[in-house]
């Protein structure tokens, strides 16, 4: 690490404040749009943490994949299902937040005592100079099978997401017996609404 220690500490404190504050905002804010953008703040701050941990390649990957893809996808989902509805209150609905807060605080206390009481064996070896080269060597030598499986997993997830999210319009009646030689997808275009419906002929 070539940055001075004071700069590291100040950056660490700032990033900690941003991460914890934005995460609490993601969980507790009423407006889901604010939560989506604050999640982007958490992800960007996490990339800064990775830079403090000498991982430039993973920080870039975090920015590209998380902020560029996952967060944008989440904001798109918010826009698509942005229906302002007031959820009906549950009977004895206060039990769940209170008990969950107690469990979370207990879990944090347990983790904190474990972290502070464990004697970690800190290595004093020099940090890998070029992390991207080292990660690439890992990918193509001892992590080759997980690497290829990850590509297959991404393909499966993409196809699955398209199939799940697609609107299915199954035709009501089957075509006649003589017309079955033309294969079409089992979906029909949605009927246009408003003034465009009268001007354009429907494709029935």
């Amino acid at each position: 690490m070539t940055i001075a220690e004071g700069v590291q500490l100040v950056a660490f404190a700032l990033l900690t404040f941003m991460i914890i504050g934005s995460a609490i905002g993601v969980v507790l804010l009423e407006n889901i749009v604010y939560s989506g953008f604050l999640l982007g703040g958490v992800l960007v701050s996490m990339a800064g943490m990775y830079l403090l941990l000498n991982a430039d390649f993973v920080a870039a990957a975090q920015l590209l994949v998380y902020v560029g893809a996952v967060n944008v996808l989440i904001i798109y989902a918010i826009m698509l299902v942005n229906k302002r509805e007031s959820f009906p209150p549950l009977t004895r609905g206060w039990i769940r937040p209170v008990s969950t807060a107690a469990v979370s605080l207990g879990l944090f206390a347990l983790l904190a005592t474990t972290i502070l009481s464990t004697p970690w064996t800190i290595s004093s070896a020099p940090v890998a100079v070029n992390s991207a080269v080292t990660i690439g060597k890992h990918f193509f030598s001892d992590f080759l099978l997980p690497f290829e499986l990850a590509s297959v997993l991404l393909l499966i997830a993409m196809v699955g997401a398209i199939i799940i999210a697609r609107r299915d319009f199954i035709p009501e009646q089957k075509p006649a017996a003589g017309e079955t030689d033309v294969y079409t997808l089992p979906e029909r275009p949605r009927e246009l609404v408003g003034s465009a419906a009268e001007s354009t002929p429907t494709q029935e």
């Binding site: 969980v27 999640l39 941990l53 975090q62 989440i74 698509l80 020099p126 940090v127």
Partner: protein, 103 residues
């Protein structure tokens, strides 16, 4: 005073607990997915801290983090597709209404 391993682990633990709280208490389905992202990020921070402080030569933790990021991207795509499909069929995103399989 230098940056220690314990600082990063404590922050990751705090972020994990916040994610658990949001995962259980939120009733908006999209917010549940955001909480899952928080959980995955806290685990990633753990892996990166161990990679830097305990295994600085091999940096296998960074390799694991890249895999976790990949799986998180796939999970987000499929999860949001499922949320969209449920929203179309039930016309709500309240987690309490998704009880078709509940006894």
């Amino acid at each position: 005073m230098e940056l220690q391993l314990e600082y990063f682990l404590l922050i990751a633990a705090a972020l994990f607990c916040i994610g658990i709280y949001g995962l259980i208490t939120s009733r908006n389905a999209v917010r549940v997915l955001m909480s899952i992202e928080l959980l995955l990020n806290s685990v990633n921070l753990n892996l990166m801290a161990f990679s830097n402080f305990i295994d600085p030569e091999g940096i296998k933790g960074q390799v694991f983090t890249v895999f976790v990021i990949t799986v998180a991207a796939a999970e987000a795509a499929v999860g949001l597709a499922i949320v969209l499909a449920i929203y179309r069929s039930r016309n709500t995103i309240d987690m309490e209404q998704f009880n078709l399989l509940k006894w």
